[in-house]
């Protein structure tokens, strides 16, 4: 049994590798610069239609945090051709489901409908790429909705508030230190002009990736894409995404967040870590395997064996790393101490396990089990076409190519224990880390 996530602000990826067999994937670009990926799966007459923009919260101007996410909400407000609310009504009237999401590096929109409704989805999605109409009232009302969303996700959740503070400490200069949803005081100031400026510049075919997955024919998808998206005007002179980068980090940082609503104190340490880069994913693969070995699977992982089974001082442990990121990512270690064990004792024990791991190296049987899992995940992943579509969209808006996505499982398979140890020695540098304690009260050491 696993303790459910303790509000770490991340969802652990149990799936190591996701890639569809290359023969099911077709890709091309339209004349106006829009990239298209088609993933075929003919088991059910369903299609997932997604448009991903290479724009996210980490691309916002200073003082305008939250504009990428607010705009995502506003994209449902209507155009000349489809009035307010019509987009959602049409999707629903066709039995479809839809949603949208904003991250640091991308903003995405998707609909899942019967395969024969693809043209209609393209008609509406291409229409709102350039034709959004916003009133002041749309913006102020939706801004209230977003503030309530922030209340639900963050203000009512001490673990999420803690996560914001930790991210702000990990990134001294990069926008990853600012929450995706935005700081509350800045969300309150966002207006219609901010939204439209952002929209007109970044919502353009040359800044977008179309992913169509399901029971479709790539030739037909191409014709439809050309008809609907192909006529849209690109944004001229769109600059490559260069965000402020981190200076050399030379000092370990610590913080504690105290909130009476906390029920379970815990420790989380995050190290700045290399992300997956185009044509260069080896280091990220080693870090992915390292996280799985240390804390990917509870009591069979290195931290779990020692802290849960042997010393019996932890309720839950985990290690987390996601290399899918445009800029520097984080490698996190979590220890949730048992009642009677202080946060300091938990942290010391975690450091002792790390030191021992650096000394002893990788258990080859454990590595073999993970490689088996990587291979199996490629099979299981084929059962979830929407998951595969999402992975391609994420990768292509995080600086990677289709070839990188397809090479990833093999790169994971090729990781040796030496690679893992080299990655461990490099990433576990306390000067590039933030250690956080989540506490119930100022004098709460977690050991009451």
């Amino acid at each position: 049994m696993y303790l459910r996530q303790v509000g770490l602000g991340v969802v652990a990826l149990l799936t190591l590798a996701v890639a569809a067999a290359a023969e099911n994937i077709t890709s091309f670009s339209l004349d106006n610069g829009m990239d298209v990926v088609v993933i075929e799966d003919h088991r059910a007459p369903v299609v997932t239609h997604m448009v991903w923009y290479r724009i996210g919260a980490a691309d916002e101007q200073p003082g305008k945090s939250g504009i990428a996410h607010l705009l995502e909400h506003l994209m449902f407000k209507g155009t000349e051709n489809f009035g307010p609310g019509e987009f959602s009504r049409v999707v629903a009237a066709n039995g479809g489901s839809e949603n949208a999401f904003t991250s640091y590096d991308y903003t995405g929109y998707f609909q899942r409908v019967a395969a024969d409704r693809l043209a209609l989805m393209m008609e509406m999605e291409s229409d709102r790429m350039r034709g959004l109409i916003l009133s002041d009232n749309d913006v102020t009302t939706e801004r209230d909705v977003v503030l309530e969303e922030r209340n639900s996700r963050t203000e009512n959740n001490p673990g999420a508030l803690f996560s914001e503070q930790r991210m702000a400490s990990l990134y001294l200069n990069h926008h990853y230190g600012i929450p995706i949803i935005g700081w509350k005081h800045e969300i309150k100031q966002l207006n219609r002009r901010d939204a439209l400026e952002f929209y007109r510049k970044y919502y353009a075919p040359n800044n977008a990736v179309l992913v169509v997955a399901g029971d479709v024919d790539p030739v037909e998808v191409r014709q439809l894409a050309e008809r609907y998206y192909g006529q849209l005007q690109p944004t001229p002179d769109l600059m490559p995404r260069h965000r402020p980068s981190e200076p050399p980090q030379i000092s370990p940082r610590r913080l504690s967040y105290v909130d009476s609503r906390v029920s379970q104190p815990y420790i989380i340490r995050t190290y700045l870590a290399e992300e997956r880069n185009p044509g260069d994913q080896k280091q990220a693969a080693a870090l992915t395997i390292l996280a799985e070995l240390l804390g990917g699977s509870g009591i069979s992982s290195v931290l779990g064996q020692e802290l849960q089974l042997k010393q019996k001082i932890a309720l839950h442990v985990s290690a987390y790393y996601d290399g899918l990121s445009l800029d520097k990512s984080g490698f996190a270690l979590v220890v949730v101490p048992k009642e009677g064990i202080t946060l300091q004792a938990g942290e010391d024990a975690m450091d002792a396990v790390l030191a021992e791991f650096l000394e002893n190296g990788v258990d080859e049987d454990h590595l073999a089990r993970l490689k088996m899992q990587v291979r199996a995940d490629e099979i299981y992943a084929r059962d979830n076409i929407q998951g595969i579509a999402r992975r391609y969209g994420e990768a292509l808006t995080s600086g990677l190519t289709i070839a990188d996505v397809q090479a990833w499982p093999e790169i994971l398979q090729s990781v040796t224990s030496e690679d893992v140890m080299a990655a461990a020695r490099q990433v576990f540098d306390r000067r590039r880390s933030v250690t956080g304690w989540l506490m119930r009260s100022d004098d709460d050491e977690g050991g009451e």
Partner: protein, 441 residues
Amino acid sequence: MRFLAIILLVLASALPARAEIDVQTVTSPGGIKAWLVEEHSIPFIALEIRFKGGTSLDLTGKRGATYMMSGLLEEGAGDLDAAAYLKAREELAASFSFDAHGDAVSVSAQFLTENRAQAEELLRKALQQPRFDQAALDRVRAQVVSIIAGNQKDPNQIASDTFDKLAYGDHPYGTPSTGDVDSVNRLNREDMITAYRNALARDRVYVAAVGDISAEQLGVMLDNLLGALPETGAPMPERAKLLLTGGLTVVDLPTPQSVAVFGHAGIRRTDPDFFTAYVMNQVLGANGFTSRLANEVREKRGLTYGVYTYLASYDLADLYLGSVASANDRIAEAIAVIRDEWRKMAEDGITAEELEAAKRYLTGAYPLRFDGNARIAGILANMQLDDLPASYLKTRNDKVNAVTLEDVRRVAKRLMRPEDLRVVVVGQPVGLVSSDKVESE
């Protein structure tokens, strides 16, 4: 109004697809039944097993036993302790998960064709020879206690637990499946064995398999996995008496956003009016951007990020429930708008356009659910738990389409009872005071 033209065009060219799911009913040599969909294009199998009864089978004073027992099934079995069991599963890259709720214990398994026999053997051990080692029990107990402590500080959980207590009192539905800290701390190994024998038996098991397996192979697997379980388990729990009255309950919690759960008596899954109620709920508050509540509370007024309602039709009781969350100084307005919509629905029902839109959505969305072996297996297992025949897959949309405007008006009058609405608010809501003195924990 280009929108209307497009809709008509699409409807003329393609009516909503039917769920083309070819379900075989398999009976094992030993007499155990299962539903199977063969799908050989991906070399793995998704298996879903349900044992009816679930945590409502907890004995008096042993609340939380079934929940903890189900968490311990994967913590050591046969000759393998917890760590060895987990490693064995990892070597096969199989995934097993065990869960328990008020109506069933659920087992979800996915395993590869290439090592099916070993995965089956490992799953057999968990189902037939769980060890309930003291070390595993103590470890999992500490995790459960931590989960309970978390729930007691979580506004959403407090709201639904408070509502359940008001609705069901001492019936098992009235308290959390996890048990409370005291009851869980008292549970011992004997209690786990009792809960296991009570919950996992052949007279209450339902199975669905989807994937790379034949009917014959599945038959052998069923006997192997389940044949040695006892013929019968504990008697099924009684239906719950609904104790709910209309009114407002405020639970003070220092947090910036109030969370509200609201509702009253619902409708049984077997009631001839169930589908009418289902269509009505689609219009009022089913999740999505298009319901009346989403429109009034979120779109027009910006009062919430999420408001929804659902028919909570369980094995032992039925409620019509909803939920909303708004800042402490705005929740009163959100609740007032919801009460207003409740009354409107009771008095006027829905419009012809709303009925048409709801039918289109429900009938169009239904076949789209059936994508992916794991998803299909889950749906088929839950259908059996609801006592639905396999033919339901083909008749379900007809039942939705048969609902008339007059049906909805009649059922709305019967189901929607504004004066019986109980609202539980957790937070520090401005301008809301409990309407009656209610014990709440």
